[in-house]
Symmetry: D2
Subunit: 337 residues, 4 copies
């Protein structure tokens, strides 16, 4: 089977795994108060050029989203998010379970624009409505697209005007920042965002995400709030060790670039064969239409997911590459079609 | 000022008020365990022809909705509701504050159909999604429309197929059941619904709503859950006294009919003058378009609310009648236009 | 039956009831934005000599407690309360249902002291513990005792040192402030408290409590938070009308004094007959020991509640007087013993 | 530094680590639906001799506790726990954050008895109280003690009488079951418990805990509830791989026995030197009194935690051994004293 189902099914990049193996028998302070977490956090502060950012390491994306967002809000605050955003559909109502409504915005490509924010705020006028307070975006978006620096700056500006916080889900940040031609950099993030996370799980780590809080007013007692949600790993060191290895020598962006390169090869091959996409493909998630008659063969040989957008004659599927996808796998896949 | 702003701004119908005055100095068991609540509950069981229904009296609509719905659900359950439903927009995220996502269904007239339920359930397939479990409808709907017996039966059938509970917000149940030609009766309600409430606040009471639970599996420990939400009135008797007076001698439906009759007179007058409506008007909420140039005069003389649906030349407004709206007020209003 | 079971079973004082009757057919802005609420709020600001206090009217004590306390806290904050405090035992976990732990402090008389606060804070040192943030006291306490001005000032001082908010449940504030020899006054309250409520239900109103927020940092968006908890009465005017009547011409304190006077007569009579108390009796709640052999007779003629503290030979019971308790009732009761 | 601070600061047992390394590049189904999790779950079902138990793998103890307990309860249900239980003190109110009160029971050794359960239930009589529904015990207890089969059977019997669920926190289950003379076995657990977890983090895993649900009525939709709390690891396989290695060839109990043996050597040495304990020491947590004058020397050479129970002349400290504690470390420590 060729595996193009997702980017979170294999283990860690060998350098990350080695770091875990080498430090295995060392005993440190628990709960992330060790030197490895300190070093990894400092590495992040240097990367984003923001020395007063707070960095916390957690184990998974849904966990970061629910812990951070609920920590930042008062009970009547809501979250604005694209209707296909991860928190809207694939987290089993985790945000609502912390008490907060999510205002869904219809958007094909999973990206929000300033006008979306203004429209939601305009519709929430008094105390009978929730009060929109935080904007959730993801980069890459749930549909694999990215934000330019200008687009992110415009969202920031709108948030400032509207009294909103801007939070970025960076589950696939490696792919977003390493995409050829992407002008957004690590250093830009603290300029435009109140908080974000640097995804590890899908970008070379065994598991783990790094939550970065830029806005000073959101930092207080964050460790209490992480612990309360069951999100503070006893052996917090495991996360520090991984992120330290992942962010050293540009490995993180290299892994993102590798996933993107494999995707591009796949896109080029599909285009050459005349395949159509339900959305213009960009990073490592590709939404493509497959003639119904080819589906049985594909399902026999390839691991992938069906997606929304099928027609009478074609099935919509999602193909995902990762840092570990090989050229041989892509060629084998293309040969199948 | 002519008051057409809403149906919950004056006090109680004189018969209800008198009942409160007459019983004022009597001392009874607190928290709804008194004989007045018992009598009112029995009156309701008789009215709906369902002797094993549980009846609880609470003070307001948002309170009933959040208390009942959160009592009926497990944490991962969601609520299906029309996107203009009261719980979706005008209750400050009260349902989400109890931990549950509300799945919004787009519907112009505020009414749900079986196909809506099927579509939502079909989109929530596995453990990464919330699990739709309860359907919230209101009768009259948020836009003043009603459900026929056949429509309600069809929703019940769909709910049974899909494993869903059916709950009706009856804030304006008096208007719904007394609407000329409406075929739904009190006796029908327990046949099709798992739970519902009989609205008092907008239908002649000083305040208060009667929650009726039909489905046996939803009854357990309901008094604990009411108390926990701060929804158990110490002097619960006040609610029993009111509902006893309100449901005696058909007063409840007479008050609904009075509100509807005033509305019909208003609708007829508006139609005669050529006014258009944003939705075909039915019960005591009328959504009408007013030429912009008449708005200043109207705002000076009439108390009402602006609504969504305005055009370049016309303002959309909502007019609401109540059991206390007089013919003279309607005539005066029509004369203004 | 002589009714000494509680102080919340009859209706409203005639002056309050008359005010409701007289204003019954007036139509005002809903949700507490009317002139009656404005007038009552201003009356309260004048009474407590604090012109920038925010005043909100809600329908019951548990509702005020859960709404206010959850509005003031972040998710990891806890509440310090006496273990026999109303929120600890008699509100079905309403505070915990909003997500907050209550730290119980053992205290016989239901009153907290500065040392209690220091001990709790000292035991909650890092992020593995909840962070105590709000102190809940009631005056009169759950056992009928009161705080002196000096005691309240000492609690305030401790709260300031420890970073704690001080909140007072005033369900029986009328009895506390009108107790002979009590030196605490309405004007003292905003000096020492961040927020409190003036109880109406047990002090002459039909129903309703007035939440007063003194601390500016706790005021923001309070109406959103009230609405979200289902605690915003549609006909908010009903509460304004009642508090306006209740606070006019010193009626509120007169009713508290009447309840206390009835209690004192009862206490004197019991003492004269040699009865012992489980706690030194003070205001309108009296905890007395009754010889077992007299209990059947008492239960036949008097409505009251059994309490904790019984011995082998004596039953502990609670007797409660109200503004409506008559001298004749007290005499009749004493004659029974 | 000699490390006796806790049992969760080093990495994984080499066999567990090797299993992770060997499977690193394999791609499987995500979210615990892979063959490794299936195999580990089956291993557990065989170990406990209960083929219809449900097994779920999560990443940490607080996470399991809050996810499982909140999944099993309705909103008004409370949890009975020893006041020094982990959920009472060291989880930042995680249970309360899901909406449930924890009823604290005073107990020196961290163990509950049937009389404790009866007393709590007796004090919660009607709808003004929370309804106790689940009993939380830990084995070993927070103070290092264990339950015998007879004691656990007695708790089960009391739970059945009182309508309570029995849940065991098995963070240190390896030490409990492997303690010399302990008569409780893996096979006993499903006979007496509704649910429990087998701790990995403190017993040889890199991280992870195995939640076992025995009671059929608690199983429904558990994967939804795990996902909603952010507790479903994307690469769920990592947990299956670890538990499969840990439970093979009796490794799990061997590691518990190793920790206990190191503790016993420490206890014997301390006793021989005349040291006193704040509680009779049993498994791998030892609570011992150290003369104040020796504390500076100890703090310079040993990593440990201070504990409650100090006297004027002695400091109470906690010493913890793990599967990796060496004889040399124990001897070095004893030589220091």
């Amino acid at each position: 089977m060729i595996f193009l189902k997702n980017d979170y099914s294999l283990g860690a990049h060998p350098k990350v795994l080695n770091a875990l193996v080498e430090t295995n028998m060392i005993q440190t302070e628990p709960y992330g108060l060790d030197e490895y977490c300190a070093a990894a956090a400092q590495r992040i502060r240097n990367l984003i050029d923001c020395q007063n950012a707070d960095v916390h390491f957690l184990t998974g994306g849904t966990q970061v989203n629910l812990t951070a967002i609920s920590a930042f809000l008062r009970p009547h605050h809501s979250v604005i998010a694209p209707e296909n955003g991860h928190i809207c559909v694939h987290e089993t109502g985790a945000i609502e379970a912390t008490g907060h409504k999510v205002n869904h915005v219809i958007t094909m490509d999973g990206r929000l624009r300033p006008a979306d924010l203004r429209a939601v705020v305009a519709n929430h006028s008094d105390e009978h409505f929730v009060k929109p307070r935080l904007v959730y975006i993801s980069n890459t978006s749930e549909m694999g697209l990215i934000y330019s620096r200008q687009e992110l700056a415009a969202l920031r500006k709108a948030c400032d005007e509207l009294g909103l916080l801007l939070y970025m889900d960076g589950a696939r940040l490696a792919m977003a920042l390493s995409y050829p031609g992407a002008d957004l950099t690590f250093e830009d993030l603290p300029k435009y965002l109140d908080a974000f996370y640097i995804g590890g799980t899908k970008c070379g780590a065994l598991f783990g995400e790094a939550l970065v809080i830029v806005n000073d007013t959101l930092k207080e007692d964050m460790r209490h709030l992480i612990k309360q949600r069951g999100a503070m790993l006893a052996k917090g060191r495991l996360l520090g060790v991984q992120f330290d290895a992942l962010l050293k020598d540009n490995l993180y962006l290299e892994l993102g670039a590798a996933a993107n390169a494999a995707a591009q090869k796949l896109i080029d091959g599909l285009k050459a064969k005349g395949y159509r996409f339900t959305l213009p493909p960009k990073t490592n998630q590709i939404f493509v239409l497959i003639p119904n008659e080819k589906m049985p063969m594909l399902e026999e040989n390839v691991c992938f997911e069906r997606w929304t957008g099928s027609t009478e004659t074609h099935a919509a599927i999602r193909l995902v590459t990762s840092w570990a996808t090989t050229e041989a796998e892509i060629e084998e896949f293309l040969a199948l079609l």
